[in-house]
């Protein structure tokens, strides 16, 4: 599309002016809170940022099925089992809407999955922590889904239409998951001494990784400013983290559980809880692939992908013989 502009220097200047004007008009639309739709013109960097963000979110949903899926077969009652299956299934559904939203930006689900499997694409680091007891299923719902909601509710007003609309549905389901998680924690904390200890242990292990879910502090966050201008991101990492802490600490108190932060204090003048320092070296290590379960999570995705290859090939061959619309085979 830029070949003409490259032909003559005068043309390039005119094209630059034209490009600047388009960028301004684009920004004005965003400033007026208009939604950008798939067929609208958009800057390439906006498209790429969105693809990266939506794909990362989609991958997180799909990889996120693994730590919770780890407890489906061991859920302690049939009611808990069906609720957990439905929840993990919702996450797969979220992955599907998000891959579809990313596809409206001109990338296929197959390409995105390839990026995940090759390690080029990221997913939320929280899913690289293990689920060791049943209480972890409660803690994930309460803390991890709680943190995800804080991050995601503002995205329902994100400037890109398909993403914003996907987020409306996802947020409704996530808040349901969050309540279910809290209810598991409540049951455990009102249960036997062993159950209370299990709940406390889960909070001890999930608290700090949950705070890290909001990403590096604003001073070290690379993508924040431009994403805020484009309304792809609407609050900074630190603002969202603070909001999460303020909501969650009283919930822990209600459960009778101790937040594992000896420095945590209430600042009366600011009307906020002030946490102790976050160990960012752990965050960066997990991000780099050195978390407790990074290897297992990617291996599980690889194994499913490889074990499913002959199935997808068979579906494609069958579809070709019968002119059946391709479905599973498209997943790459």
């Amino acid at each position: 599309m830029y070949t003409q502009a490259l032909d003559s220097p005068g043309g390039a200047a005119a094209a630059d002016a034209h490009e600047r004007e388009r960028l301004e008009r684009f920004q004005e639309r965003i400033d007026r809170d208009e939604k950008i739709e798939p067929k609208d013109w958009m800057p390439e960097a906006y498209r790429q940022t969105l693809i990266r963000q939506i794909a990362q979110h989609a991958h997180s949903e799909v990889v996120g099925m693994l730590p919770e899926g780890n407890w489906i077969t061991r859920a302690p009652s049939l009611r808990r089992k069906v609720v957990l299956i439905a929840k993990v299934q919702d996450e797969g559904g979220h992955g599907m809407y998000l891959y579809s939203a990313a596809e409206t930006l001109g990338v296929s689900r197959g390409e995105l999955i390839e990026q995940l499997l090759s390690g080029r694409a990221k997913y939320s680091s929280i899913f690289n922590y293990p689920t060791l007891t049943w209480a972890d299923i409660g803690a994930i719902g309460w803390l991890v889904d709680g943190a995800a909601i804080m991050n995601q509710i503002p995205l329902c007003r994100c400037s890109y239409g398909p993403y914003a609309r996907a987020m409306v549905r996802i947020c409704k389901e996530e808040s349901f998951h969050q309540r279910q998680g809290y209810e598991i924690m409540l049951t455990l904390s009102r249960g036997s001494a062993a159950q209370r200890a299990m709940a406390q242990d889960a909070l001890d292990r999930w608290w700090w990784p949950s705070l890290m879910m909001f990403g590096p502090s604003d001073a070290h966050s690379v993508h924040t400013a431009q994403s805020m201008r484009w309304k792809i991101k609407r609050f900074s990492n630190d603002e969202l983290r603070q909001k999460f802490i303020d909501v969650t600490v009283p919930q822990a108190e209600f459960l009778g559980l101790a937040v594992p932060d000896p420095d945590l204090r209430w600042d009366e003048s600011a009307q906020h809880y002030v946490p102790g320092p976050i160990d960012w070296s752990e965050f960066h290590a997990v991000l780099k692939g050195e978390g407790p379960c990074n290897r297992e999570r990617l291996e599980a995705r690889h194994a499913a992908h490889e074990a499913g290859r002959w199935v997808r090939e068979a579906a494609a061959a069958f579809a070709e013989k019968h002119q059946e619309p391709l479905r599973a085979a498209q997943a790459g």
């Binding site: 598991i184 199935v311 599973a328």
Partner: protein
């Protein structure tokens, strides 16, 4: 069915009803637990979601049936006591349901053979003189139609898809076929429940299952394996080694923390 003909039928004992309902309940529970193992590991997201749905339906059926069994028994056992606190010999599921998932082809073959049996059974049970069972069957039969559509659709894709997929489902069919003996061999309880108007006539189930499965195999370009006599039936509490492992995993938490509520 008229009241007169109902009253002319013999009535089963509570023990017989309990035993019969457990067969249905445990088959749904164990099949649902097996499918639940796969969530997050399917060949594509769509299949993950579909298998999850089927698992949810099956465990949902099991909950209703186990609760009913508990009421019939009248010893205060609820769905969870029956699911988590019985050992393998007390389970009454057909042995086909407990067979491991294997590859996706083996899962599909197992589900297909089982779905056909559940669909025909629940179809008949909607007319049961046992109102509780008939109500559950009305709900279950709709679910089983979808399960059958999914599994027979995939059997056709895999049977006809590629050489590899054909070879895989053929091998799975050969391996699992012996467990269909149990589905089609009625015992005294099956016969008694039919006479009482509670369960379907075994000959009818056999005929309908044969027709349905034969059509699916033909569509999938698969040959029906030769009959294999296999008299070790899960419905009598005689299981394969796989059930014990499935139960050890499923029952671990309530067994490790006796008396706790979750």
């Amino acid at each position: 069915m008229s009241v007169a003909s109902e009253s002319a039928r013999p009535a089963p004992s509570a023990e017989e009803r309990f035993e019969y309902v457990l067969r249905l309940a445990d088959t749904s529970l164990i099949a649902g637990q097996r499918l639940a193992e796969l969530l997050g590991h399917g060949p594509a997201l769509e299949e993950d979601l579909a298998l999850g749905n089927i698992s949810l339906d099956l465990i949902g059926q099991a909950r209703l049936l186990l609760a009913l069994a508990g009421r019939i028994e009248g010893r205060g056992r609820d769905e969870d006591a029956l699911a988590f606190l019985r050992d393998a010999p007390d389970f009454r599921n057909v042995a086909l349901a407990e067979q491991p998932n294997g590859d996706f082809g083996a899962t599909i073959v197992r589900q297909c053979l089982l779905d056909a049996w559940q669909l025909e059974s629940y179809e008949c049970l909607t007319g049961s003189t046992d109102r509780d069972l008939a109500d559950i069957a009305h709900k279950a039969v709709k679910e089983c139609r979808y399960h059958w559509r999914f599994s027979s659709g995939w059997l056709a894709r895999l049977g006809e898809g590629t050489e590899e997929s054909h070879a895989r489902v053929r091998a799975a069919l050969e391996s699992l076929w012996r467990f269909t003996d149990e589905l089609l061999t009625p015992d005294a309880l099956d016969a008694r429940m039919a006479v009482c108007g509670i369960g379907p006539a075994p000959a009818l189930i056999r005929e309908r299952w044969e027709t349905r499965v034969a059509a699916a195999l033909a569509q999938a370009k698969l040959e029906r394996p030769a009959h294999q006599h296999y008299p070790w039936h899960g419905k009598h509490g005689v299981h394969t080694e796989h059930l014990g492992h499935l139960l050890a995993e499923m029952q671990f938490v309530p067994r490790a923390y006796p008396g706790a509520t979750w």
